[in-house]
Amino acid sequence: MRRYWWKILCIVLLLYNCIAGLLVELPQRVAYEESNMYESMRNFFFHVPMWFSQFILITVSLVYSIRYLRRNDLRQDWYAVEFARTATVLGCLGLVTGSIWSRYTWGAFWSNDPKQTGAAIALLIYFAYFILRNSMTDMDKRGRVAAVYNIFAYFLYIPLIFILPRMVESLHPGGLGNEGNPGLSGSSLDPKMRMIFWPGVLGWTLLGVWVTTLFYRVRLLEEKYPTA
């Protein structure tokens, strides 16, 4: 129980997020009068947590990469790559779900919107991380180069996702001026929605950690590393 309580919490949060996200009453004004989102506003509970949990997981991956460079312990490198991998899967899901949502609110699956383009480039940078890491056979060299690149990738990710799309006009909330769906930013989000959104972020992050630790444990078994 001491060791797996967070897995139970994860399941409870995900079920709560899914059920409440589909059943909660949407703010009429934001969903129907001020935007063309209608019921698709519920995507907020499912699409956005993908990106939030993705960001949390790549941050954890960054920490492990730094730890690897400091300690030269191979396990830190394995944690870093597995966290980055899970995060990239969540990022791909975020990109696809965003694309589906945009088809019905912005008019096309892909609008070359700064946010969409930035997210796609950020994912490509992480793809390059795996390719780079797998291109080397020497374990120590691979770990060091991959860790340095991972740090670089993280600090490219931030301007691509958080800064550049906000400096230009964008259909996505958070862009310059009042473009995009006004409903999903700050003040117009009512507390009821926050109470579904944040548990969702935590739930998806925990699921990401769960999957990552499974992959990590399998890797330890593969490498015949003595398990604790």
């Binding site: 897995k7 399941i11 079920l15 899914c18 589909l22 059943l23 999957v211 398990t227």
Partner: protein, 70 residues
């Protein structure tokens, strides 16, 4: 065996939802609220199915770890 049981259970859940379609009665049970509850049932079924799947994987890895430690 357990796999089969879980698969059957999940399938039963979904057929339960489908059976509502042929039953008599208007806007009752899962048909209320513009049939949003049907979507809910489907989404929760998928989620529960995936969670059971990952729980199984977790147990399998734990078992392997124990075996290799011996």
């Amino acid at each position: 065996m357990k796999q089969l049981f879980i698969t059957l259970f999940v399938l039963l859940c979904t057929t339960g939802v489908m059976a509502q379609d042929t039953a008599e009665g208007i806007n009752e049970g899962l048909r209320a609220g513009g049939k949003i509850y049907v979507v809910l049932a489907v989404a929760v079924t998928i989620l529960v199915g995936l969670i059971l799947y990952i729980v199984r994987l977790d147990k399998k890895v734990s078992r392997l770890e124990k075996q290799l430690k011996k």
